[in-house]
């Protein structure tokens, strides 16, 4: 466990609020996009990009980099904002979100956008794809490898951000079984558990609780945290890195639309852009909190 000083936690918390402002501007400008699920993930994404992930914006293809799979692709405005502020492309490019000729597609395109590891949008892919990546990175260590350079374990780890509506999809659980079978200790999934999906509460659409029990029964190491507490996120990520021979899930309890009072807990802000008045009101609320 690393010690995380208060200044670091405060800095990342501020970064998360900055990401929310960027998301608001992008969706307001484009008049299309997904705010609610981007807001619920802001502290998680900020903690990964501004502290935890071993990445190098100058070398997006660095073989030893950690892989972050943004499985809940519709919420990608927050991913793009983090990548831009981390230096993968100019922040000014965020203004092109969802427009013609942009690298910032409506859902992430790994070939167009630097730093995007996986196309996402159709929900449910992150766990199984992440399991494949984790297998590949681990198998690099096998003595059967011929080249001396690859005859050691890659230190790279795989992180997946999963939505809680997304886990309705069967392939999530297929992938979870495979990750457990192969004891993928280098795979960490963060479940953004905001409790709301497109048409209502996840508990009403398709009940998935008890989530901790379910993932534990699938053979995973489970932690449950407050997903808006940077201190808890950083601690959980460190703990997950130290678990061997088991994949880890961090069940992050969050609020959809977190950060703006009138957007919170409301499924109608899943995929709707704000009008000018709503935009100004939301910006004022977030800026007031920084």
């Amino acid at each position: 466990m690393h010690y995380h000083p208060d200044e670091l936690i405060l800095e990342i918390t501020r970064r998360a609020q900055q990401l929310r402002l960027d998301v608001l501007r992008m969706v307001y400008t484009a008049q299309t996009g997904h705010i609610g699920g981007a807001f619920s993930a802001a502290e998680i994404v900020a903690s990964l990009y501004f502290h935890h992930l071993r990445i190098d914006p100058a070398r997006p293809d660095w073989p030893e980099r950690d892989r972050f799979l943004f499985s809940k692709g519709h919420a990608c405005a927050v991913l793009y904002a983090a990548l831009a502020h981390r230096g993968f492309f100019p922040v000014s490019e965020l203004a092109t979100f969802r427009q013609l000729d942009s690298r910032l597609q409506g859902h992430p395109d790994r070939l167009k956008c630097p730093g995007v590891e996986m196309p996402a949008g159709p929900l449910g892919h992150g766990v199984a794809v992440g399991a494949g990546m984790a297998l590949a990175l681990r198998e690099t260590a096998k003595p059967s490898s011929r080249s001396a350079a690859s005859a050691r374990a890659s230190a790279a780890r795989v992180y997946v951000l999963l939505g809680d509506g997304e886990i309705n999809a069967g392939v999530v659980w297929e992938g979870a079984l495979t990750a457990a079978k192969y004891r993928l200790g280098n795979l960490t999934v963060i479940l953004d558990c905001n409790g709301i999906q497109q048409t209502g509460a996840t508990a009403d659409v398709l009940p998935t609780e008890d989530l901790s029990d379910k993932w534990r029964a699938f053979g995973w190491h489970v932690q449950e945290i407050n997903g808006h507490s940077v201190a808890e996120i950083l601690g959980a990520l460190d703990r997950a890195d130290q678990v061997h021979a088991r994949p880890c899930i961090i069940i992050a309890r969050t609020t959809k639309g977190h950060g703006v009072g009138f957007m919170a807990y409301d499924h109608r802000w899943h995929g709707r852009p704000p009008n000018e008045k709503q935009y100004q009101e939301a910006v004022a609320e977030i800026e007031g909190s920084i």
Binding site: E117, G130, M133, A134, A136, T178
Partner: protein, 322 residues
Amino acid sequence: MMTTDGHWSLMRKAYGEALVRLGEQNPDVVALSADVSNSDYSALFAEAFPHRFYNVGIAEQSLVDVAAGLAYAGKIPFANTFAFLIATRAVEMVRTHLCYGQANVKLMAAYAGLSDSFDGPTHHAITDLAIMRSLPGMTVVVPADAVAVQKLLPQVAAWPGPVYFRLNRNEVPDLYDETYAPQIGKGVVLRDGGDVALIGTGMMLYRCLQAAERLAGEGIQARVIEIHTLKPLDTHLVLEAARDTQALVTAEEHSIIGGLGAAVAELVCDQSPAPVIRVGIADTFSESGPYLELLDKYGMSVEAIVDGARRALRLKEALPAR
């Protein structure tokens, strides 16, 4: 190049052996199975390289996604299961990761066409070529015999990007000897003729050759062309046949909708109109039964190809003189 010794061989056994050789040559080659490895012979690879073989269970969507993850991290995964499952249940994964994401996964589609004959229509793959051919970025390869499998598989491994490789369950006639040198994307002329062209793929190529013999007995000279790569199609060879013969017949172990016949018809309509008769299964499900008899009953007999050639010739005669 061609043999006439009357032997029949298992493509899937040749596949398993060829996959092991690939594994010996390239440590990045890995294989996955959705728990049918003793059917498709990928079990040979599992024996040779147990640490590079992953059985993900009866979970075809996960099969393709896990393979995509391996590919994104630099491996060359060969994902094995039955053709109908790859090309129905797992198609969204194929589209999103292999095609849109360009994950370098090789899809090994076993028991294709009607070849899993006794298991019935649930296990037949008669729409896979149409589905795979329609996906941007996908390459579709259909070997015709066991030698073709051995010759094409290393090219599949070296080919940049995803490939759908279609394999037959049953023994099929040996067409080729060791001098056969196919290239992905290039058709092969097996017999010359200027009256009509029979364009076949997979198992149906053998029946095209038999049909050409019968037609020769009637004084009709049929050109026989193998199209093992449905996409990218060898447009030069097909258009040349259209111009030379003005009468084309396609033959495939697949629905007449969307497969080889459609690919040829689309091209010819665009660039050099000529009659195209499509031999294949009509827009219907078949039934359980012996393989060769099933092919005959559902429109893929030698007689169906011969009859197709006669129809193409009648249509050619009805064309206004050029």
